[in-house]
């Protein structure tokens, strides 16, 4: 009998050697005349354990990691194919505390299955939601999504069901479903991993959305920085089409749904939904004024659902298990689970999916293990480049939309970036302004010019020039940007800047810190 060995083909795992490890495992097996079947699964999300090898045994999957290419022959010596003892042995994967403490709903199949095996996908609960959906009315599907409490995971947290209802009720000869896979926020990678590890879940979620509102065309706007995800999703779409999951008939029903991948071109602001529509139409990614809402007049002027990858990828589970099971998780108006991403200077970085309401402390300490450098944790940026910087005395905040807003921050796409005491928050604030200047679409003066002005002003503060006056000027600038910007690019850039000033005043006293 051949032993099944799982070795991830996730791009992050590959970036630190997973392909070499896989090649060596295959080589060693041949050399030792052992029968091994290597399955290239997605990552299970514990990036700190990559390359994580799992061996299928009668007791379950047994993990070894982080495996370096030079560890491979010693793993064979230790009889890892039968779960043998080895310094890198981690026991049953599911019992590793880092995994056992999570509640994987959207990510239920991530890392478990072969990403491009539709058979594997179905064997692990795939297509249950879509099969239900094709037998239901659009209104019933939308009601289910609404009842689940699912909110947009792209940043704004708008209730998905309400958006879908608007598109459902719009009368038009053509409607679209667009998935926002631009994932531009630093410190976020949950969209990428889902697409690389379980692309059929996204396809299924989009098909459910299309069936619900009567859309026949879909686009995934995927950033060019993710070549592996682009390739995998294109392959998965081809497979889903030939299997009749999507295409001229969705699972044999009267619904048609065609899906295409469109690749971004390196613009952060094209992650904003109306800029994304402009880009999908082949134009400059300049923000559109709202109204009209994209749900009424979106892509090519037609009613369009726009949702983040994680929003759409949560829908199959919601339909399969029922809205109640999803809504039973979480807290207040933040229902269900959030796929958090631990990044930056972190000992145990990766994906943590849990119900909303976990504390920041549990995330960064219990799961994350603190900083990678071992030096004191000094700052945490939550929610990407437009998110706030917190200091290490603010770790008791509950990770949900409302609590983070009350604490002066925002959840964004769920990225949590740690910094040790090397960080200079004045430099980080300056970077926030520079990034805004670089990525501004140019439509509003406060965003386009204010950001450049802001970076210059922070530079003056850093160099110790007229510090009190320049701090006041900076706050004024922030106010103008907040009030005078059409979208959150200019409107929220003041958030990292002001939170850095408030939570780390000692870094804004003039004179370089180090």
């Amino acid at each position: 009998m051949s032993t099944v060995v799982y070795i991830p083909n996730d791009s992050a795992a590959i970036s630190i050697g997973a392909d070499q490890v896989a090649a060596l495992v295959a080589q060693e097996a041949v050399k030792r005349s052992l029968k091994v079947t290597i399955v290239r699964n997605g990552t299970r999300g514990a990036l700190w354990l990559e390359t994580l090898i799992e061996v299928s045994t009668p007791q379950g999957r047994i993990a070894y990691g982080p495996v370096q290419p030079e560890d491979v022959s010693s793993l064979f010596d230790a009889d890892f194919l039968n779960g043998g003892a080895h310094p890198l042995a981690l026991g049953l994967t599911d019992q590793i505390a880092w995994f056992a403490g999570q509640d994987r709903v959207t990510y239920r199949r991530v890392g478990i299955i072969d990403p491009l095996s539709l058979k594997d996908y179905e064997a692990h609960g795939g297509l249950v939601g879509l099969r239900k959906a094709v037998k239901q009315s659009g209104a019933d599907i939308v009601a289910e999504v609404t009842a689940s409490g699912l909110r947009g995971r792209g940043g704004a947290g708008f209730p998905a069901g309400i958006k879908w209802k608007t598109v459902l009720d719009a009368k038009a000869d053509q409607k679209y479903v667009c998935c926002n896979a631009d994932e531009g926020d630093s410190g976020t990678f949950a969209d990428r991993i889902l697409i690389e590890a379980d692309p059929f879940t996204l396809i299924e979620g989009m098909a459910i959305a299309a069936v619900a509102v009567g859309a026949t065309e879909g686009f995934v706007y995927l950033r060019s920085e993710y070549p592996t995800a682009i390739k995998r999703l294109c392959d998965a779409i081809d497979i889903a089409k030939s299997a009749g999951v999507i295409g001229s008939s969705v699972l044999g029903s009267a619904h048609a749904f065609n899906l295409e991948v469109r690749v971004g071109a390196g613009s952060y602001v094209c992650g904003e939904e109306t800029a994304m529509l402009e880009s999908l139409e082949g134009k400059r990614g300049v923000i559109r004024s709202k109204p009209p809402l994209p749900a009424i007049a979106g892509l090519f002027g037609k009613p369009t659902i726009i949702n983040n990858v994680l929003t759409l990828a949560s829908v199959p589970a919601i339909l399969a298990d029922g809205a109640g099971a999803y809504a039973a998780r979480g807290t207040g108006r933040s229902l269900g689970t959030q796929v958090f991403q631990l990044a930056g200077n972190i000992a145990r970085g990766g994906i943590i999916e849990t119900a909303f309401g976990i504390t920041l402390e549990t995330l960064v300490k219990t799961f994350g293990g603190g900083t990678l450098s071992g030096k004191p944790l000094r700052a945490i940026q939550i929610g990407g480049p437009l998110g706030a910087y917190f200091n290490s005395s603010q770790l008791n905040v509950s990770m949900d939309y409302e609590s983070l807003a009350a604490a002066g921050g925002m959840l964004g796409h769920g990225g949590v970036v740690l910094f040790d005491d090397n960080v200079d928050l004045a430099q980080q604030a300056k970077f926030a302004m520079e990034f805004c200047a670089l990525e501004s679409c140019g439509k509003c003066t406060p965003c386009r010019l204010g950001s450049t002005r802001g970076a210059e002003t922070i530079e003056k503060i850093i160099s110790g020039v007229d510090v009190p006056a320049n701090k006041l000027l900076l706050l004024d600038l922030c106010e103008v940007m907040t009030d005078g910007s059409l979208c959150a690019m200019g409107g929220l850039t003041p958030l990292p800047v002001k939170s850095a000033m408030n939570n780390f005043p000692e870094d804004f006293t003039g004179g370089a810190k180090k």
Binding site: D191, G282, K283, N345, G349, D420
Partner: protein, 156 residues
């Protein structure tokens, strides 16, 4: 179907109108084709030659100014030939937290080149997140993603 816009190659054919026309012919049925046309041209030739702007304008019946507007808007699109080697270093926050500023300085020093300037042989370019933020600093070297990047690994 798998169209890999933007993936870097070490060498590209030189620009020709005939080949450019052929690239665009596959996009005749695309709604809103300008961006995708520019991406397809760059995918084939490594950059967008000035003549390609006119060619796209004629082929899809849009103004040259419109094509030019799109070309200059997007960071990915380039108007100078692709270098032989391309080193993209992530300079966004999560990678800053693990030393990407120092990494950039070290790579600049070792190669004697400035980041974000054009060279024919090796270019170092800033990038803003490859989704490898738990294993930073991240870099993309000749199209290959690298985690825990170091000056040694990048210039190996």
């Amino acid at each position: 179907m798998a169209k890999l816009w933007g993936s870097f190659r070490m060498s590209y054919p030189s620009w020709s109108i005939e080949e450019g026309t052929q690239v665009l012919s596959s996009l005749k049925n695309v709604q809103g084709p300008v961006l995708i046309a520019l991406q397809a041209i760059q995918e084939r030739f490594g950059y967008v030659h000035d003549e390609a702007v006119s060619l796209i304008a004629e082929t899809f019946n849009v103004s040259r100014a419109d094509v030019h507007g799109v070309l200059t808007y997007y960071h990915d699109l380039r108007t100078t030939p692709s270098p032989v080697r391309l080193i993209q270093i992530c300079v966004a926050e999560a990678c800053q937290a693990v030393g990407s500023r120092d990494l950039v300085a070290a790579v600049e020093k070792k190669l004697g080149k400035k980041i974000d300037q054009s060279y024919a042989d090796v270019e170092i370019k800033s990038a803003y997140c490859f989704g490898n933020c738990a294993l930073g600093p991240a870099a993309m070297v000749d199209g290959q993603l690298m985690g825990r990047a170091s000056v040694e690994k990048i210039t190996a």
